[in-house]
């Protein structure tokens, strides 16, 4: 007994130290192996510049789609109880646990020229694989569950009495959603948005299968890192460094933002929260 009391505390500290070293040393290494000046210079080169611009466009478009369609879908799942609701939520969560490469194959099987919907798309004169649209679809496929899951939890945390109060004050369901549910869930929605954005920005596996790695058309930042890895390691480091800075900035912004909205409204808006109730 005495022995375990003596050892337990230090054991926890050792474990935490190991975790911290393992997770931070590689990140530090990127910035020690390159310099800010080098990052700026390498990002000025064509391949990096094109990849940066493409990533911004495709991730932006995907996030717009996810928020525009995912928010009302999550609101429905959070506020209505119906048969099969748990199954619907599980289906939405499936891409979370699916290997991204498999997601790419699946998208190909559905929307490829010889795929499930290939003939229909062909008849409309559409060919999706290896286009910018394919990148947007790949990003939306892997990133949307991050947003929707969080959005369901955020809407569930809004006290239904608030919506009742709005309705009794003359607001229709639409106005109650805009003026009450949406602002009160905003902290959780922002957190989900950030998680989805970070996941989408780093998307690699599904994109490389479904959209390929064509410079200027489908080669996003992560694909550019991979392409440069063998030819120009410094460029890979530079792009990697920039991605880390962007991701860290998002994480920080969400943490600050959520602590602010938590103080404003009541629902908890921790960035990593539990699964929505089934």
């Amino acid at each position: 007994m005495i022995r375990s009391r003596v050892w337990f505390g230090p054991l926890l500290v050792i474990a935490l130290t190991a975790v911290l070293v393992f997770l931070t040393v590689p990140v530090l290494a990127i910035f020690l192996e390159t310099t800010p000046a080098q990052i700026v210079r390498k990002l000025g080169e064509d391949q990096a510049r094109e990849a940066l611009w493409l990533s911004a466009r495709t991730t932006g478009a995907a996030m717009l789609l996810i928020v525009a369609v995912g928010t009302p879908a999550a609101y429905l799942l959070a506020t209505r109880r119906f048969r099969g609701r748990a199954l619907v939520i599980t289906l939405i969560e499936l891409p979370l646990v699916m290997p991204p490469v498999v997601a790419g194959i699946a998208l190909f099987a559905a929307f490829g020229r010889a795929g499930l919907l290939g003939d229909e798309l062909g008849a409309l004169g559409l060919s999706i694989p290896f286009t910018e649209a394919a990148v947007v679809m790949a990003v939306a496929f892997v990133a949307s569950p991050f947003y929707i899951r969080q959005a369901i939890a955020a809407f569930e945390a809004v006290d239904p009495v608030m919506v009742d109060a709005a309705r009794s004050l003359g607001a229709g369901p639409g106005r109650a959603f805009w003026r009450i549910s949406l602002p009160l869930a905003s902290g959780g929605l922002t957190a989900g948005w950030a998680l989805a954005f970070a996941r989408g920005l780093g998307e690699f596996g599904a994109t490389i299968i479904f959209a390929g790695s064509l410079q200027g058309t489908t080669q996003t930042l992560p694909l550019a890192v991979y392409a440069q890895f063998e030819s120009d390691f410094d460029a890979a480091l530079a792009i990697g460094g920039m991605l880390i800075v962007v991701s860290a900035a998002i994480l920080l912004a969400v943490k600050l933002g959520s602590s602010w909205t938590t103080r404003l409204a009541s629902p908890s808006t921790s960035i990593f929260r539990g699964a929505p109730s089934a």
Binding site: M162, S168, L169
Partner: protein
């Protein structure tokens, strides 16, 4: 506003334990529905507001039909002219007081803020307000819609005990001044009596009695109403008649008399303020005497609640001190047969 619309309810509300069936008319008056928690009081208000759908029935406000199951009418909440003050007030936490009151797009926001004495709080957020202030914001918000009926769900429950008394008076004055049909629900008979001219008691899904608070206190219809009004309720057995009075044997063996005619298992109801405490039985007109040791003495300001033989008497501390009685002393609870009511007692009610 010249002719306040009359609210009439006739509905069945499904509940977990039992259905709630109720018929009620509310004119330009305040009616309080009193019942234990879980009796469906809040659901009733939510049904009037259109937030809960009754299983069957009809709700009308003046000549407007808000709900009619036979004709398939069910107006959504936003199309009913109903002001609902929620339990805990349900103020929008992300909006200022002014934005809360202006939410219904009423025209008289500033006037209401002044009238409810919250003008100085217009830019504050709900979490910065005291309970009384929140209640005034909730009332202003509900009134901003110019409702034809006002519903209040446990309006006093979220208040500190020391502010309750003052707020109760203010609310009563406001309700009188508005002259709207107002329906409030509460679990406290005290709040109901202080706020409403008419009190309806809800028990196990139905209205068991309604009337002025004084009537309920004086003539409770059953044991539940009696205990709700704060009267003493002692289970006994009607054992016979004497001189036109019913004789009831109490569990301790004491015989008490009542002018009410009832047989079998009965509840003896006496208000605490109608019982006096004596050292010995005096040769006066009072018929009922219950002897026993004083089991508890609770002093509240200048009054004391003294318990003898299962009965609580409310007497002044002055008279208690003059008699020099304290806990454990033998005493007699004395009360008139004319002030002793009998109510039928079911087996279940006898437990409480």
């Amino acid at each position: 506003m010249d002719h306040p619309a009359r609210l009439s309810l006739d509905l069945d509300l499904p509940r977990r334990a039992f259905g709630l069936t109720l018929t009620l008319e509310v004119g330009a008056e305040t009616v309080a529905i009193v019942g234990p928690s879980g009796s469906g009081k809040s659901s009733l208000l939510r049904a009037v507001a259109g937030l809960v759908r009754p299983a069957r029935g009809r709700i009308t406000l003046g000549d407007r039909v808000l709900f009619d199951s036979d004709r398939g009418i069910d107006l959504p909440p936003e199309r009913r002219s109903v002001g609902l003050v929620f339990q805990e007030y349900a103020l929008f936490p992300h909006m200022t007081v002014r934005a809360n009151v202006a939410f219904s797009r009423g025209a008289r926001v500033d006037e209401l803020l002044e009238r409810m004495r919250i003008g100085h709080l217009a830019d504050a957020r709900p979490r910065e307000l005291s309970g009384g202030e929140r209640q005034r914001v909730a009332l202003a918000r509900a009134l901003a819609r110019d409702p034809e009926v006002l519903l209040l769900d446990e309006p006093m429950a979220a208040l500190d005990p020391h502010t309750r008394e003052g707020v109760r008076g203010e609310l009563r004055a406001l309700l009188d001044e508005l002259g709207l049909p107002a329906l409030l629900v509460t679990h406290s008979f005290g709040d109901a009596a202080a706020l409403a001219g008419r009190v309806a008691v809800l028990e196990s899904g139905r209205l068991v009695q309604q009337g002025a608070p004084g009537e309920l206190i004086a003539r409770p219809a059953d044991a539940f109403v009696a205990s709700l009004t704060g009267a003493n309720l002692v289970a006994g057995e009607a054992v016979g008649a004497e001189g036109g009075l019913t004789v009831v044997r109490l569990p301790g063996g004491a015989l008490v008399y009542s002018g009410d005619q009832l047989e079998g298992a009965v509840g003896v109801v006496v208000r605490p303020s109608e019982i006096t405490i004596a050292r010995e039985i005096a040769p006066d007109s009072t018929l009922n005497h219950v002897r026993g040791p004083i089991t508890s003495v609770v002093r509240l300001a200048n009054l004391a609640r003294v318990q003898v033989g299962g009965l609580t008497a409310e007497i002044t501390t002055m008279s208690l001190d003059r008699m020099g009685l304290s806990e454990g002393d033998d005493a007699v609870a004395v009360f008139k047969a004319a002030g002793t009511r009998l109510v039928p007692l079911g087996r279940a009610a006898a437990e409480g």
